[in-house]
């Protein structure tokens, strides 16, 4: 079934690379009926738009508390995924598997934690330039009082030079192609639409759990029909779960660590330092993947995403370390059964995300050069990534990737190595990790005692409804 792009909110299908200015508003609902009236007229961008004509746009998503506040009945609520219903910070178990402890614990979060105001709505604002964004923001904010909304937090973003993230690596290269939507994509990276949009077949060839309503609950026929049961309205269809985590990055600490570990007789080497960092990431700062270019950054490969690991003869990680960030968050053909085979790739396709994050905070050094970062000295300004991703099964996709792959010190035959960038250093597995092993001949080298470079400052699970479902919510 082709995607109903005009019923899917645009940010699920597109990264809005032409709208580089963005801001996220976290809102509470104080007057549900006023909010519902606002929802009926809210002009959100669908997946059908002309880049040249759109210079600003909105998208919207809700927490489970928000949907309840709008009046969604319990019997419908319980058909949403349990992870979404409970929320990101709800149980000690979820905090444990996500590694949200200590400095990253929800009790210290700025938003979304137990001590913060209850979130209901996420309003996402995107614009082509600073002026358009500020106009859009002012316009939206002026409606909040009459819409029964209270502002909880405003999260600004900052598109960094050279399309990099704060550690200085080119980001957003590995994008996931959606089957039946993106054309001419490589089969290994083309994923069933139902993994990212509800109401379509997922990577198991099945429909993911979501709320379906009977005719009585859908009196005006606002909702689309469920494909597996056309007598029922589909509240989930064309919607997706949005995982939002504010991840602060300790950029200076990261480069200081890489510097300390690579000094020889007290002298730093920019080349060796960058090589260690590249081994941790799995790509060079310019973007070239190590498995394709193990010894140097190669500008010709800066956007390269067509590669496998076993398929490139790197089963043992000699080129791209087994524990590097990009290899463990998307192992491609490294998984059992039978690594290097089509079956291995198939298994990996059940654990993919569509990433839509945006950086925030000013870079330590506008040049994004590690030498300048180190020269700048300690910084008190917070910076990082508003990590956003879409998936339809939070447990099998986002949480699995964070826990089973990123935080796991025993990932793929390792022992004490969690993800060098986003790992929680073993806390979620009850041990101390923070080792990074660089597979090499004649024998591996490794660095140990890595501090945590990324901390969680806030987070929540949202549901981003399809556009007809949005009108349905407005009519509750």
């Amino acid at each position: 079934m082709p995607l109903q792009v005009d019923d899917i909110q645009g940010i699920i299908l597109y990264g809005y690379g032409h709208l580089r200015h963005a801001c996220f508003l976290l809102l509470g609902i104080s007057d549900p009926s006023a909010t519902k009236a606002w929802l009926k007229t809210l002009d959100v961008l669908s997946g059908r738009f002309n880049r040249n004509e759109v210079d600003r746009c909105l998208n919207v998503a809700f927490t489970s508390g928000g949907l309840r506040r709008l009046g969604l009945s319990d019997d419908l609520m319980c058909e949403f995924s349990s992870e979404f219903r409970e929320g990101m910070a709800a149980t000690p178990h979820r905090q444990r598997i996500l590694g949200d402890s200590g400095e990253s614990g929800p009790d210290r979060w700025r938003w979304g934690g137990p001590g913060n105001p209850e979130l209901h709505v996420l309003l996402m604002l995107y614009a082509r330039n600073e002026i358009a964004l500020s106009e859009l923001l002012t316009d939206q904010q002026s409606r909040f009082v009459s819409a029964g909304l209270t502002s909880i937090a405003q999260l600004d973003t900052n598109w960094l030079p050279q399309d990099k993230e704060h550690f200085g690596f080119r980001d957003g290269i590995s994008t996931t192609a959606i089957e039946g939507f993106h054309k001419d994509t490589s089969p290994a990276n083309t994923i069933a639409a139902g993994e990212f949009v509800l109401g379509y077949l997922n990577a198991y060839g099945q429909y993911t759990q979501r709320p379906l309503v009977n005719q009585a609950q859908n009196p005006h026929g606002l909702l689309p029909h469920a494909p597996e049961d056309p007598t029922r309205g589909d509240l989930g269809m064309n919607g997706s779960y949005l995982v939002f985590r504010q991840l602060s990055q300790e950029v200076t600490r990261f480069w200081q660590y890489c510097d300390e570990q690579t000094r020889r007789d007290g002298a730093s080497s920019a080349k060796v330092r960058t090589r260690l960092a590249a081994k941790m990431v799995g790509r060079w700062p310019g973007g070239a993947p190590l498995v394709k270019s193990p010894e140097r950054d190669d500008p010709a490969l800066s956007s390269e995403n067509e590669f496998l690991y076993h398929g490139e003869g790197d089963a043992t990680g000699l080129k791209c370390p087994i524990g590097s960030h990009i290899r463990r968050t998307n192992p491609r053909d490294s998984l059992e059964p039978d690594p290097g085979s089509g079956r291995s790739i198939e298994v990996g396709k059940r654990h993919r995300l569509i990433r839509r994050g945006r950086a925030y905070g000013v870079p330590v050094a506008p040049s994004m050069d590690p030498a300048d970062v180190l020269a700048a000295g300690p910084s008190t300004v917070e910076r990082g990534l508003h990590f956003l991703c879409f998936n339809t099964h939070i447990g099998r996709q986002f949480e699995f990737i964070q826990h089973t792959w990123a935080n796991n010190p025993g990932f793929d035959g390792l022992y004490d190595d969690d993800d060098p960038l986003i790992g929680d250093r073993g806390g979620s597995y009850g041990k101390s990790a923070g080792t990074f092993t660089i597979q090499a001949d004649p024998v591996r080298t490794r660095v140990t005692g890595m501090p945590r470079f990324v901390h969680v400052r806030g987070g929540a699970y949202f549901f981003m409804p399809g556009i007809r479902a949005l009108r349905f919510l407005g009519s509750l």
């Binding site: 043992t316 025993g410 793929d412 001949d441 004649p442």
Partner: protein, 451 residues
């Protein structure tokens, strides 16, 4: 070097004592790995241990099934020695626990011998018992991990990058020789006792011969059996209920403290003679398969299970399954769907309420939604769980064993290079046997098409 055994002891809980017993046992979330009542860690040959309370319930006809307590351990043989250990070193703890069970010796009669007798009387044989790899003792597993850590420390101490693989290996071997506490590692690990290996071989060949003799007699019946099976499958009533949210939350609260996890699941057999015979046959085949086919670290492509067992409960009415595995329950379920759905379907489709199968091997848990909804409805809470090495994955254990082997083996240049890579990552699994590889190459999900 001994092989590994599974001890299962099942006792009826004295009426009215379930709450008091549960209070003694606590939960994994309460005590983590520091449960001091029965100190399994003091027994050097226990790999895993658990206590599970099977709450009072009813069978399919509504007859009550009394609450029961199960004690399970995975130990290095001999089992007799283990019973002695339990009755002496853990005697006081056993008393506190089994005090709440029927038939346990009275306070005045609690001698080691009386405890052993009680354990023996209540011992139940597992219908099938899976061991990731037979022959690795607790001492060996812990020792080889210490060995790997020590060698890694040695590798960190010098820059080996310009040395030849042979030179690096020589340096490692000489380092290990210099450590008197690690000298044992220069000898290969012992294999399980010859008598045990011969008995296993006789079982392997004997059953195969019996099968070859009797299968031709069954073959003419096959079409009838398949028709019967399909008739039963069409009439099955899958349980589509959802486990209560608070029960699921309680189960989750016990999970993911270490790289290893545990699961206990229990269910009633489907009624009728056909299902009884089928279930018995499948469990026999399972026993055979895990002993002789899937005995090299992989259970149908699934490498994350350390030990698992299938045990009858209440005569032929119920069966429970326990597993000690690596990773989260989510990843465990995904593993089964992705790699071993056919086997799990064949075994557990005998269970009441199981997602509908098709020709025994297909359907069933291939329906992700149905499987993930069903499992929590059949889970029993493991109240106490112990692992002697909760931070080691099956791959870690296997890799450590291979590191130790490489110290004493004669290695070619290529083998030396491959061996040295084991200090970088231990993700090379031993190859499965021929029959296992044939089974694993079958795309079971594509064999049958049912509506």
């Amino acid at each position: 070097m001994p092989h590994q055994e599974a001890l299962t002891v099942i006792a009826r809980i004295t009426p009215g004592h379930v709450p008091a017993l549960k209070a003694v046992l606590g939960t994994i979330a309460d005590h983590g790995d520091r449960w001091s009542v029965v100190p399994f860690a003091t027994l050097a040959n226990v790999h895993f241990a658990r206590f599970v309370v099977f709450d009072e319930t009813t069978d399919l006809d509504g007859n009550p099934l009394a609450p029961q307590l199960a004690l399970m351990t995975n130990v290095d043989a001999p089992l007799d020695g283990h019973l002695e250990d339990l009755a002496t070193e853990c005697g006081a703890g056993l008393d506190r626990v089994f005090d709440h069970c029927e038939g346990y010796p009275g306070v005045a009669e609690r001698t080691a011998a009386a405890r052993v007798e009680f354990l023996r009387e209540h011992q139940v044989r597992a219908r099938a018992f899976y061991v990731n790899r037979q022959g690795r003792t607790v001492t060996q597993i812990l020792g080889e991990e210490e060995l790997r850590r020590a060698i890694n420390g040695h590798l960190d101490s010098t820059d080996f990058s310009r040395q030849s693989p042979e030179a690096v290996r020589r340096s490692i071997v000489s380092y290990v020789s210099s450590r008197s506490d690690l000298a044992w590692a220069l000898q290969p690990a012992e294999r399980p006792a010859l008598a045990w290996r011969i008995a296993e071989l006789i079982h392997q060949v004997g059953i195969a011969v019996l099968a070859i003799v009797f299968l031709p007699l069954l073959l003419p019946l096959l079409p009838v059996l398949v028709l019967l099976l399909r008739r039963h499958e069409k009439r099955d009533v899958p349980d589509t209920s959802i486990a209560p949210a608070d029960a699921v939350r309680r189960l989750r609260a016990d999970e993911d403290y270490w790289v290893q996890n545990q699961v206990t699941a229990v269910g009633l057999f489907k009624p009728g003679l056909f299902r009884l015979i089928l279930a018995t046959a499948i469990l026999l085949l399972t026993d055979y398969a895990v002993r002789h086919i899937y005995n090299r670290g992989s259970l149908s492509g699934l490498s994350s299970i350390h030990f698992a067992r299938w045990v009858p409960l209440d005569g032929r009415r119920r069966l429970f399954f326990t597993s000690n595995y690596d990773g989260s329950l989510e990843s465990y379920m995904d593993d089964f769907i992705d790699k071993a759905a056919w086997g799990l379907n064949a075994i557990f489709s005998s269970g009441d309420g199981f997602p509908r199968t098709c020709f025994l091997f297909c359907g069933g848990i291939s329906d992700e939604k149905a499987y993930k909804r069903f499992l929590p409805t059949r889970q029993a809470q493991t109240q106490v769980w112990y692992s002697a090495y909760p931070h080691l994955t099956t791959k870690n254990v296997a890799n450590n064993a291979a590191i130790r082997e490489g110290l004493s083996d004669q290695l070619s240049e290529d083998e030396t290079r491959t061996w040295l890579r084991r200090f970088g990552v231990g993700n090379q699994l031993p190859e499965s046997g021929l029959i296992a590889r044939i089974f694993d190459s079958i795309r079971w999900d594509r064999l049958c098409r049912c509506k």
